[in-house]
Symmetry: C2
Subunit: 413 residues, 2 copies
Amino acid sequence: MTATSFDYTPLLAEGLPPAAAKWNGFPKYNFVGGNNDADQVPVAKLLEASIAVLTREGAMLATYGLNSGPLGYRPLREFLVGKLKRDAGITCTADEILITSGSLQGLDLVNGILLSPGDTVLIEQECYQGSITRLTRRGVKIVGIPLDHDGMRTDAVAAALADLKAKGIRPKYIYTIPTVQNPTGTIMSKQRRAELLKLAEDYGVPIFEDDCYADLIWNGQRPPALYAMSKTNNIIHIGSFSKSVAPALRVGYIVAPWNVLSRILSTKTDAGSGALEQMVLAEYCQAHFSDHVPKLRRGLRVKLEAMMEALAEQFGTAAEFDDPRGGIFLWVKLPDTVDTLKLYQAALASGIAINPGTEWSVNAAHSGSRLRLCFASPSVQEIRDGVAALAEVCRREFGVPSRSANVERAAGA
Amino acid sequence: MTATSFDYTPLLAEGLPPAAAKWNGFPKYNFVGGNNDADQVPVAKLLEASIAVLTREGAMLATYGLNSGPLGYRPLREFLVGKLKRDAGITCTADEILITSGSLQGLDLVNGILLSPGDTVLIEQECYQGSITRLTRRGVKIVGIPLDHDGMRTDAVAAALADLKAKGIRPKYIYTIPTVQNPTGTIMSKQRRAELLKLAEDYGVPIFEDDCYADLIWNGQRPPALYAMSKTNNIIHIGSFSKSVAPALRVGYIVAPWNVLSRILSTKTDAGSGALEQMVLAEYCQAHFSDHVPKLRRGLRVKLEAMMEALAEQFGTAAEFDDPRGGIFLWVKLPDTVDTLKLYQAALASGIAINPGTEWSVNAAHSGSRLRLCFASPSVQEIRDGVAALAEVCRREFGVPSRSANVERAAGA
């Protein structure tokens, strides 16, 4: 940048988010983000798949859409038809699946066809930060629904829908992460799913089902997807290979009836998602997905247990959490005196990254002393050391926990 | 879809483009789209690159951004620093390059930070259809600037800028494809580039330089990029590997100063572009890009010559065109009596796809009897047969050409 550098400021569109900060690498203890376990990336088998598919079909890279059209590489969509049937009970065809650049592009595309500023949506009160910020940036009004151990509370959904109807407002959708909810880790029960579907049908409101963590349930048992249970095609379902294979691949998908996909497709202006990833994943998954995922889950469970043990050891009863049934994160409650937004800032200065609860919730009062800790990427040793370091910061800033590792300490010591 | 299928229509956002039609495969003679020559995809060497990079760094796929941060895989950005210096005269650092999912995502990202409904931009009167439709959908006012053999006419740019200034309007940018313009194939001369830069600086309007075809100049000689010639950082430059390596990879890039990239980054909500493509391209390009591209150009030139010969043979003097200095398309003028939008419809019914001129222009009067023919993807034989079939349709619909292949025919025969 020189002294004569052009000033773009007066030309910027209104309402942009703040400029990004320069990236300075990962902190020493990184308990944020959907990063996965580097030791569990199936590198050798992905390589085998690359060799097979490139040798056979590499020349097709000359063609946008790989002779499969804009929905994405057909063999990958066909793998998904079988996987979704087997795992989630979903009956669909390859023409009801759109491959996206991660499920994040799925979020943007679905929001793009449905949402305008001033619209209203229902979401789980604790929710993926990226979903909340996407809605906020679009000027959408969010109604947060509290969760319990069975997921989104349908009594609260019923009350919210009735209240909105009384005001003449038809929400654009009910967004839910029903299967390993982010950040609470809950799984919506089948009974609760049926109740939610009934409400959605009664009020004419579609459900936007984000199932991106659903492959990571420890025992592999899950209720059918809302998409599978609906009889009226009122669900838009998104999923991802980020959690089950590797996040950097950026491959996700939308499952929806053609009347939805045809509107989404005309707004997907990228001429298709990356072909190499789609080809390699299709080749890999047909042969190895069902063996890989249980192995990955076992490894993640080991890390979760290390995280829970470290929290118990370092924070004692000051850290409350449920043992989640799957996933890559733990939702932790600290004493009310702890402001996790302040803890986040202090921890980051000490090389520890955490997600403060208020960024993963639309209810600041409920989430202000909560935090999310991701455990898939750091090693077991990093988990132990990082949680100990976090406890140290928390004690210094808030006097909590007063004792750690069975040694009582004075606040500020 | 069942009888009880949910009706999304009343929930759709306003102003969406029409629903997409189902994809039914490619037509027999496909003279549209940026598809490349399947025989020229360097499959064996891409495979070698995949093996090398996955073996060495595959475990990094567990991490969003591959330890390179949100700008994209650093070795690919570093390759681009050297390539842009060598080929386009651009001096930049790896931190002034953002890897995108094709240059199309680049278009969307740049438009997203600069454009609001009612804004004004200047573009070349004949222009890439995707750029025109993107502007139209955003409700942006387009001022079309005519071209001559040296590219965008700067006398017309000067007049347009003066006229807008008199009305109190500051355009958001001047968009140009200066180096193998789409669809005209012209290359903006260095002198013209200097004039355009002067005008841009005088009026405080940035230039959006789309250089996605610039690698495909037959003799490899090109003027410096506008980005290279600017002294005031008032250029945003985008490029692509779609034309030089393979379009289905979906890898492009934005070159811009950090005050622009930092705004773009905070609106790039996809958590990075596909990692496998970035890794494989970086590995491949470091070793083979500079050998591959001249070979590709020679092959494309052969196809262009086949296309020009077939047009001369089938259409005679009815088809006028300049021999373009590079690229993958030919911009053809037919007699004024030919409406190429009607020709396009009739040709498609006969299995021949062409781009009607009005879809690649903002001046219907100028482009109504013009068409764009892409020659990289079809074989030489398909080019010959397809142009003959197109002449047959054109003769049937418009009585033009009256003779083909030196045989005079009655209109409608």
